[in-house]
């Protein structure tokens, strides 16, 4: 086997120039795995606590309404929309559309921008309300 050592070994993570399509792809895995564990466990805990009775549920509610828990809620909201938007992008690409370089790049950027915007639109009023409630 003769190989020109001047040529890069491919595929290799370090020699790719990052683009929107790669970022959106790894975000899909990260948000999917994150929700699978975090949202999955919270969902089961929430339902199990509710089924066990008022005492078990009040423990859940105390943790879920803690200040630090809001970081998790906001993170899950963003993860949900990120995974959902990119899932829709996948449906389009499954049909064989949207592979033109410019279109693909633009859609990937939109798929990253929309979830951030939606998260902001949902949480800004809630956080503003909470902050004003604490000030009283």
């Amino acid at each position: 086997m003769s190989r020109n050592p001047g040529r890069p070994l491919s595929p290799h993570l370090t020699i790719w120039r990052w683009g929107p399509a790669m970022a959106v792809s790894i975000l899909h895995r990260a948000t999917g795995a994150g929700m699978a564990v975090v949202a999955g466990l919270i969902f089961v805990w929430w339902l199990t606590a509710a089924a066990m009775g008022a005492d078990a549920y009040s423990t859940f509610l105390a943790v879920a309404s803690h200040k630090l828990a809001y970081v998790v809620w906001i993170g899950l909201t963003w993860s949900f929309f990120q995974h959902l938007c990119n899932g829709l992008r996948h449906f389009v690409m499954d049909m064989g559309a949207g592979y033109e370089l410019k279109t693909n790049r633009m859609v990937a950027i939109v798929v990253m921008a929309v979830p951030l915007l939606l998260t902001l639109v949902i949480w800004a009023p809630i956080l503003a309300k909470l902050a004003s409630g604490e000030g009283e």
């Binding site: 339902l47 199990t48 549920y57 879920a64």
Partner: protein, 129 residues
């Protein structure tokens, strides 16, 4: 067909013929999640109260209970399929792969079972509000 190397043993056999069903079920559950999880997230943000009595009453409605059960099935099936691909891509040695896929199966089935049982217990009036 050789018997020596791993490549030699599988050469000529073609694929295991499981890939397309895995892919298809991931899409089917994705559509299920799209409908059910969107409903769930919107419903959560619209709930007037997260107190125990309010939640028990909400889950007690047949429409909500059945939608939540379908959501649990669709979500835990989808995450089982998705995490399996992640495990297979990033864990290279066989023992670790088997261990994590086994753990994943247990997590998905136990999670869905706990969620569904809890929903049914509430819906059938087994929880005093």
């Amino acid at each position: 067909m050789g018997t020596g190397t791993g490549l030699g043993r599988v050469r000529g056999l073609g694929s295991a013929k499981h890939g397309s069903m895995h892919w298809w079920r991931q899409r089917v559950t994705a559509v299920g999640n799209l409908l059910l999880a969107t409903w769930f997230v919107v419903a959560l943000f619209r709930l007037p109260s997260f107190e125990h009595a309010a939640i028990v009453q909400w889950i007690g409605s047949p429409i909500v209970a059945v939608a939540l059960i379908l959501l649990a099935v669709s979500v835990f099936y989808h995450l089982r399929l998705g995490l399996q691909v992640i495990v297979e891509d990033y864990i290279h040695e066989e023992a670790g792969k088997v261990f994590f896929v086994l753990l994943l199966n247990f997590y998905a089935i136990a999670g869905a079972a706990l969620a569904i049982f809890s929903i049914l217990k509430i819906a059938f009036g087994g929880v005093p509000a």
